[in-house]
Amino acid sequence: MDLNILWFVLIAVLYIGFFVLEGFDFGVGILLPFLGKDDKNRRLIINTIGPHWDGNEVWLLTAGGATFAAFPHWYATFFSGFYLALFLLLLALIIRGVAFEFRSKDDHPKWRALWDWCIFIGSFLPALLLGVAFANLLRGVPIDDSMNYVGGFWNLLNPYALVGGLSSVALFTLHGAVYLSLKTSDDLMARSRKVANQLWLPAVILPGIFFVWTYFSPQGYARLGIDPGMIPLVAGAAMLLSGYFLRKKQEGWAFGMTAVSIIFAVATIFLMLFPRVMVSSLSETFSLTIYNASSSPYTLKVMSIIAITLVPIVLVYQGWSYWVFRQRLTHQSELEY
């Protein structure tokens, strides 16, 4: 395996980590106005992700940084091309992060309502935009012979990509509902369970439509990189199993299954891209690949040593932080947010 492939895999792993972890805290943010009947409940909901959301978000930052380091042309083309979408993503992440920290530090109802809206929009919009962005990566976008995106903003909002965006919203919201049912107690837990059961169907159907569309569309399956084989089916099977466990009220297993589903769905997308990182819809020869978009062999080597050293350490202490805060929150819990 050459280092270009290793870095493609590493970036896929970073995005998988990001979607599995930030996926549920996006979901929690989306569910905030629906499950948070009163202020106490809203605080409980936010506090379930309180210690984690920032660390989860770093997975995205690291994916961005790793793309810059390993595939500078991918970074440059993607960020300058998906310009306004990323601008909206940035604004959403900005108001969201500040809202977590600020909302409970003043008890004026309007102050709190304002930041609660920021949490909702700041969670919903990134979940949607990232789904749209990845669908467009699969579909291919107009990239010219000098690796520049020439499509504009509205080009990204095609029906196929919108279904992709709605799929990720549905998936993350379900993932978040299951997480909430794991981390809360009493009435809030009961309502989280109920919502999770209601969300299960759309979270199966929307990604299902997206998959079938991808399979039959001339832009998708016909031009795929590696045949993902059984991998998307594993994602689908995990979704079905999560429904089974939800009905059995085994949230731990259900959460595991939604996580597995996200892992295999993202893996499918990366397999279908490989070895391309940005597919040009103008000409296959204009596509960016892990070879023509990459850094020099020397930089890849240096970065490989660093990443392989650091990633396991990160996993250990982030895992430990989930262990520290493993308990369910109750109405008696001390709430920081």
């Binding site: 660390g55 390993a70 300058s80």
Partner: protein
């Protein structure tokens, strides 16, 4: 307006704004960690209160630094894609390492620190803040390694139409970083110290309710502040000397030095005509610039005209003179405020040693007004560092013109510029509101209610 100007304006707005929050994070994290360590060591309640109170202000400030930092990582690709393609092989590495080594550590352990008061032992909890302090300053190191490549490119070769890394250790051991990082690290401590001095002074003047806590805070901040302020000046001095060697044009612009001189005089006040490159009015101290540059009274410091001629020969025709007025005044603002800070913190130390803080000594109120000083000085310093590099985005290798994204239109840039400015403006109001609220009312932090339940925290180990 053209794309380059808008992209530069956006970088200036978002970066200066981001860097309002960062120095306080860098410094206050260390100071809070010191306070909590004192609490662990002595078990005195005053240190627990201090940790809680300053920790709360730290968190409010931290959130803003984090979210505005995401913009920084994205905008190289969004607005400066040609630059990103040209330097990505080198510049991307420290950014990725910053995220991997520092951001994960910082965010995870801050989460543990904020939410873990009753879940960790006291020692573990204090260690979490030390890790946050370490990681914050580590992230500063890596981003400055990236910036140092722009100031003084090393460890690269031009290949495939871009700069490619040939020596990772040369890049991270860039001589520029070892004058720049200490300056940034210590100025963070100075920022934190002035923040604590100002707020403590406010409370000591007002009432005696929390006198013990704010007396102790004032003393610690004065002690660390004096060391930090002297350190900032010394490291600033070595940075200026390094600048004379590596970017003489920046120094010439910062001094409005039109012609080379030996010995070189330093400007005390110059009103110049930038177009005709001449002084309209100037008071200058003979030999002082040579002294600054070489620690001796003689030595040539090169002027703008000479350097322009030399650069035209080396790099071809073009304008190699940075905006002189901006460079000149930002340099003076930074140095002037630095001097004022030294006097102020010297006086603070005298007060702190005299143990008469509760007697409301003279000029105590001034410390409240001194809180913004480090922020202004630091912004001025960065304006000089970045504007003074004109016309280069990477010194000697790539010019600012042509570094932007070719597919981004002025309309798009204007949209994002206005969007960021508006959102940042509103957030600044909310942030200052909360900082003032919590700074003025220590009772809003749970330091009082905790008093009764101050039982030792249970360790989760072995649970």
């Amino acid at each position: 307006m053209d794309v380059t100007i808008l992209a530069r304006l956006q970088f200036a707005v978002t970066t200066i704004y981001h860097f309002f929050f960062v120095p306080l994070t860098l410094g206050l994290s260390v100071l809070v960690a010191i306070m909590e360590t004192l609490y662990v060591r002595t078990n005195k309640d005053v240190y627990r209160k201090m940790t809680k109170f300053w920790g709360k202000l730290f968190i409010i400030n931290f959130a803003m630094g984090v979210v505005t930092g995401i913009v920084q990582e994205f905008q190289f690709g969004m607005n400066w894609s040609e630059y990103s393609r040209f330097v990505g092989d080198i510049f991307g590495a420290p950014l990725a390492i910053e995220a991997l080594a520092a951001f994960f550590l910082e965010s995870t352990f801050l989460g543990i620190w904020i939410f873990g008061w009753d879940k960790l032992s006291k020692k573990q909890h204090a260690s979490a803040m030390w890790l946050v302090a370490f990681a914050s300053n580590l992230s500063a190191l890596w981003i400055l390694i990236a910036n140092s490549f722009m100031q003084q490119p090393v460890g690269y070769v031009l290949n495939n139409g871009r700069a490619e890394m040939t020596d990772f250790f040369a890049v991270i051991l860039n001589p520029n970083i070892w004058t720049q990082f200490p300056h940034v690290f210590i100025s963070g401590l100075a920022t934190g110290s002035f923040f604590i001095l100002g707020i403590s002074a406010y409370h000591l003047l007002r009432d005696k309710k929390f006198a013990d806590m704010f007396t102790r805070s004032f003393q610690i901040a004065a002690a660390i502040g004096i060391i930090a302020t002297i350190g900032v000046i010394m490291t600033g001095h070595s940075q200026a000397q390094h600048m004379v060697q590596t970017q003489p044009m920046k120094m010439a612009a910062a001094e409005a030095l039109w012609e080379s001189e030996d010995p070189a005089a330093m400007s005390l006040l110059t009103i110049g005509n930038e177009k005709e490159r001449r002084d309209v009015f100037a008071i200058r101290i003979p030999s002082a610039l040579s002294l600054l540059a070489y620690d001796q009274l003689t030595g040539e410091v090169r002027g703008i005209n000479d350097l322009q001629a030399e650069y035209e020969q080396t790099y071809g025709p073009g304008d190699y003179v940075p905006p002189v007025a901006i460079s000149y005044w930002s340099f003076r603002l930074m140095v002037g405020i630095g001097t004022l800070m030294l006097i102020a913190v010297g006086y603070a130390l005298l007060l702190a040693m005299g143990e008469q803080l509760e007697e409301k000594p003279r000029f105590m109120k001034a410390f409240v007004w001194f809180i913004p000083l480090p922020f202004i000085a630091i912004s001025s310093g960065w304006i000089l560092t970045e504007v003074g590099r004109f016309p280069w985005i990477v010194f000697g290798l790539m010019k600012i013109d042509g570094a932007t994204s070719p597919n981004v239109t002025p309309g798009m840039l204007l949209t994002t510029l206005i969007g960021f400015t508006l959102v940042y403006g509103v957030l600044m109001v909310a942030d200052i509101y909360l900082l003032l609220k919590y700074a003025k009312n220590p009772e809003f932090t749970d330091i009082v209610e905790m008093e009764s339940s101050a039982a030792p925290a249970v360790s989760i180990v072995g649970e």
